[in-house]
């Protein structure tokens, strides 16, 4: 097929050498130039390196600017895609947050309860009394009624008049016993009367609830002079409460001119208590 081969040759020659109306260079020339540049670049000549570094500097800057719209469009696409899924993600995160909050609260509650229980256990070990731990179920604190209900009753050998401790300090006594629950009359209740002894001089008095946070000391000796500090303990004179249970710090109310006791255990903050069943026979604990 000589004609076909000739046609191919003519067409290739024409394509390589023809410059056309507006072409300044023929393909053949440009291919030769490209091969020359490639060869020079491959030889690693110093002038070529310098030329390349100059071209690089210029083109990199232009490239950085000109590629920014593409990068911006890509970033915009990512932005919108993220926003489309944002609602779903937000909903999921809210659910997770709720769960975590619940767990946190639960953990916090358990931690607090654990701490209290540990204190009770510790108290049971160290106390001079045999006690039973109980949890406050209800507390009714008002100016006229200061009592609390615990979740232990006669089923735990609790009896009327037994002293109740919180963190080792007296907070009241049992005034009502049920099979599964009991009522504590707190020291600040109006009906509370407890015989106490004051340290360091050993004065006897009656600690009377006043319906306020701090009970008052009554029936103090006639020549009693408050020395600025003192601690009130149970005296055990009534034959019901055991002696030597710490109650609070003796303070003087300057305005109303009376002696009060600042309780060691805040009646508003009690949560777990110990009901004293009997005095311990363990000498080490004593």
């Amino acid at each position: 097929m000589p004609t076909s081969r000739d046609d191919f040759g003519i067409a290739i020659r024409s394509a390589l050498l023809q410059r056309g109306a507006k072409q300044k260079f023929s393909l053949f020339v440009l291919i030769i130039v490209s091969v020359a540049i490639l060869s020079l670049d491959n030889i690693n000549l110093k002038p070529i390196k310098i030329l390349r570094s100059v071209i690089n500097d210029g083109i990199y800057r232009i490239s950085a600017i000109s590629s920014s719209p593409i990068k911006f469009s890509s970033a915009t696409k990512d932005f919108f895609v993220n926003h489309i899924f944002l609602y779903k993600e937000n909903k999921q995160l809210k659910l997770e947050l709720q769960e975590l909050k619940k767990e946190k609260l639960n953990t916090s509650y358990l931690q607090a309860e654990n701490k209290k229980l540990q204190e009770i256990v510790q108290l049971d070990k160290e106390s001079a009394f045999i006690t039973v731990g109980a949890k406050i179920m209800l507390d009714k604190n008002s100016p006229y009624l200061n009592s609390a209900i615990i979740n232990k009753g006669s089923n735990s050998s609790i009896k009327l008049g037994m002293p109740v401790l919180s963190k080792g300090h007296l907070i009241g006594r049992i005034v009502e016993v049920n099979f599964l629950s009991s009522r504590i009359l707190l020291l600040n209740d109006l009906n509370s009367r407890i015989p106490v002894v004051l340290s360091p001089n050993g004065e006897q008095a009656i600690l009377t609830g006043a319906g306020r946070k701090r009970p008052v000391l009554e029936y103090l000796p006639e020549n009693f002079e408050f020395e600025g500090k003192g601690i009130a303990y149970t005296s055990g004179k009534d034959g019901v409460l055991f002696s030597g249970i710490s109650i609070g710090e003796v303070i003087e109310d300057q305005i109303e001119k009376r002696i009060e006791v600042k309780l060691f255990s805040d009646p508003d903050q009690i949560f777990l208590v110990n009901v004293v069943l009997e005095k311990s026979t363990d000498l080490e604990a004593m």
């Binding site: 191919f8 003519i10 394509a15 507006k22 072409q23 130039v33 083109i59 490239s63 590629s67």
Partner: protein
């Protein structure tokens, strides 16, 4: 000297393919449209092939060569690699233009396979032998494949553009 707005507008519209080609070479288009580890296409090949085939007065060989050099610099390829491959694509297009009397989309499309394969083969060959670069043959193959598949899309787009600016097809 009064500015002939119509002439300026016409010149600008006729320069759009060239501007697009330069922009693509400068803006690392090749690296930014690379998805799923296989999808990439060579838009430069499509532009060069189409315009050299349909209207070489819009895209001069000198600009094709320059765009190749720019692309080499941007992609840190040995200088002349892209220029050579682009020029060979242009050569195939020029040959088809000279050898055929009446071209259609399908004749353009199937002759483009040869142009794309030659262009990518030259790039692969030069990189393999004249550069310390690792080139995966499969990635070049997929590039050629997707360039070939997408050619009709750009063919129709450029046809619409050509008719829009009332260009006469090259005879």
């Amino acid at each position: 000297m009064p500015i002939n707005v119509k002439t300026f507008q016409e010149s600008f519209l006729r320069s759009i393919p060239l501007i697009l080609l330069v922009y693509i070479c400068i803006s690392e288009f090749h690296t930014q449209f690379y998805y799923w580890s296989i999808f990439s296409f060579n838009l430069q090949f499509i532009i060069i092939y189409y315009w050299v085939l349909r209207d070489p007065s819009i895209l001069g060989y000198g600009f094709v060569f320059l765009c190749g050099i720019i692309n080499d610099v941007v992609l840190s390829l040995p200088m002349g690699t892209s220029a050579l491959s682009y020029l060979f694509v242009a050569l195939v297009a020029a040959y088809v233009r000279n050898a055929t009397v009446r071209s259609t989309m399908f004749t353009d499309w199937f002759t483009f396979v040869i142009a794309a394969l030659i262009g990518n083969f030259i790039t692969y060959f030069l990189l393999k032998n004249f550069a310390e670069m690792k080139v995966e043959y499969s990635s070049m193959f997929f590039n050629s494949l997707f360039t070939f598949i997408l050619y009709p899309v750009f063919w129709f787009t450029f046809e619409v553009y050509k008719r829009l600016i009332n260009l006469k097809t090259y005879d």
